[in-house]
Symmetry: C2
Subunit: 357 residues, 2 copies
Amino acid sequence: MASSLRHFAGPGTIPAAATASGTTCLLRRHTPNFCTFAALRPIRPSPAAAAKPRASPPSVEERKRQPSAAAPLRVGIVGFGNFGQFIAGGVQRQGHAVLAASRSDYSDYCAQHGIRFFKSVDALCEEQPDVLLICSSILSTESVVRAIPFHKLRPDTIVADVLSVKQFPRNLLLEILPPGFGIICTHPMFGPESGKHGWGKLPFVYDKVRVAEGGQAAKCGQFLSIFEQEGCRMVEMSCAEHDWYAAGSQFITHTIGRVLSQLNLKSTPINTKGYESLLQLTNNTVSDSFDLYYGLFMYNINATEQAIYMMTSKAQTSCQFFKQLDNLERAFQKVRQMLYDRLHNLIRKQIMERAPT
Amino acid sequence: MASSLRHFAGPGTIPAAATASGTTCLLRRHTPNFCTFAALRPIRPSPAAAAKPRASPPSVEERKRQPSAAAPLRVGIVGFGNFGQFIAGGVQRQGHAVLAASRSDYSDYCAQHGIRFFKSVDALCEEQPDVLLICSSILSTESVVRAIPFHKLRPDTIVADVLSVKQFPRNLLLEILPPGFGIICTHPMFGPESGKHGWGKLPFVYDKVRVAEGGQAAKCGQFLSIFEQEGCRMVEMSCAEHDWYAAGSQFITHTIGRVLSQLNLKSTPINTKGYESLLQLTNNTVSDSFDLYYGLFMYNINATEQAIYMMTSKAQTSCQFFKQLDNLERAFQKVRQMLYDRLHNLIRKQIMERAPT
């Protein structure tokens, strides 16, 4: 991993050894005050920052190329694995063009699906897509974004991501992208398994982190309308809020799915609804990579700083994920103990009944 | 519990202390050969046993009372708690009459729902229902059945049950019921929560354990058609097969539900499908009693004999439930260890990178 520990090496609670590099902390800097969560207000950049002017006025040639509000978008997808292809399907169904670049060669797949494939991000960027959608894994996103040749793109390009954590890419994009670029952080909370029968009513979380008024805002609206038109439940929410909720729900879901997948559960002719849902969960989890699970654990502000602190200093801190793992184990032990106790009592009673008085 | 350990005190693997009572073993006697399960053939009584003649020929008065195939059934429900009321709804929707008896007083509820309520099973049996449906808990079923005044019922009455384990009530009913009585063991694999929006496509398992040809078979068909007409997926399966499948699926589902219910999970604005199903599972489990969970554990032939043997002799046996609990814990530990290992490796790498070379 190119970034090593940089993304969670912030000041304050982190031991000196972890902060000695002097590099930027991608998670710490924008940590919200969690006491303010009750109101559920999305965190927005200041109006001044949002309306920040372009680095330079658009050239005549640029103006010519500027699509009208109704013109289809050209969406460049960087990282064209399972999830990138899945999202590309929706983009195409809504009438937009897809351009793709990936480390692996997907030229055959793209040829069959009417998608232009590029062997490098450089080549893709020369085509100057309206939106650059990062579909790499959590672990590789930092190196992928740092390698984008921004100077080849138009200066008002919108960059979006689809990661299952949100503060990390938000802060990464705010740090690295040229100031005129738009930033939309999104999380389609479904995937090739759970969304295989359509995207209707499935939650799509987004945060318009930095979108200038005018053409950029229009293109942003067009991009989000892809998911809206596909029937998603659109949830506008700050990246910080997303990560706070996700820490409490996604991690436990993935953990249970991973634990169950170890048990090799089989379908039976008499599955209850509950058992069906566990089989489904196991199925979905197995099709996700361990890297995703690890990413949820390591790239969420609610876990990482405390986790690294705990692992290096052995302190008892309030890391939410570690707490969740501990709680899960305690809950399991408690349920088992209740069963054992009942059995013990029954046997004791039986022995007492049979003992000579 | 009236029965103490009788229901699993069988010969063979059980220590001498547990079999000294000399009473019948309700689970052991009918244990099938599990090697024959592949063919999934329901286990039936021999044709001779199935067509066993009535203890005495029907009297003229009895013949008068014999309902025609089209006449609605009179279904007497013994045990009128949450589940009994839930099943009564379907019986009534299909045009049959419900009579109910329970330890608790449900006379108000029954008055509101057009059901005749009886304060004792004796009083209910004097009404001579066509079908006596036992809806008591697993733990109380043996004492409930033993207290039924069979002499007050017509000698071809059908007795059915709805327990989540099936070999235990099958053997209990075969042992206790007079020979002319019909026996249908059923398991509606849903409940007030999972079946609240209708019973369509939900599995209904049944085993016509002992049904004589003629009037009894017709009434049996009428009774089963209640569930068929409600849209259930009808699964005819021997009680032994049911328990074998259920041991592998129901127990793990209830265990996960119980463990999760200890964690106090909350719904979020961005639930994934997987998290939704965990919340639903937790909700369903919390509305079930711990007695049901305990009953699944203790009254399934695939667990109880080995469990009692293990608890009394400390031997390592092949009890399926104990194995499942151990596997679940091991799976949990493995997933956690994988996360910890990744984190450790990352920290080690970080330290190595910063150490002077």
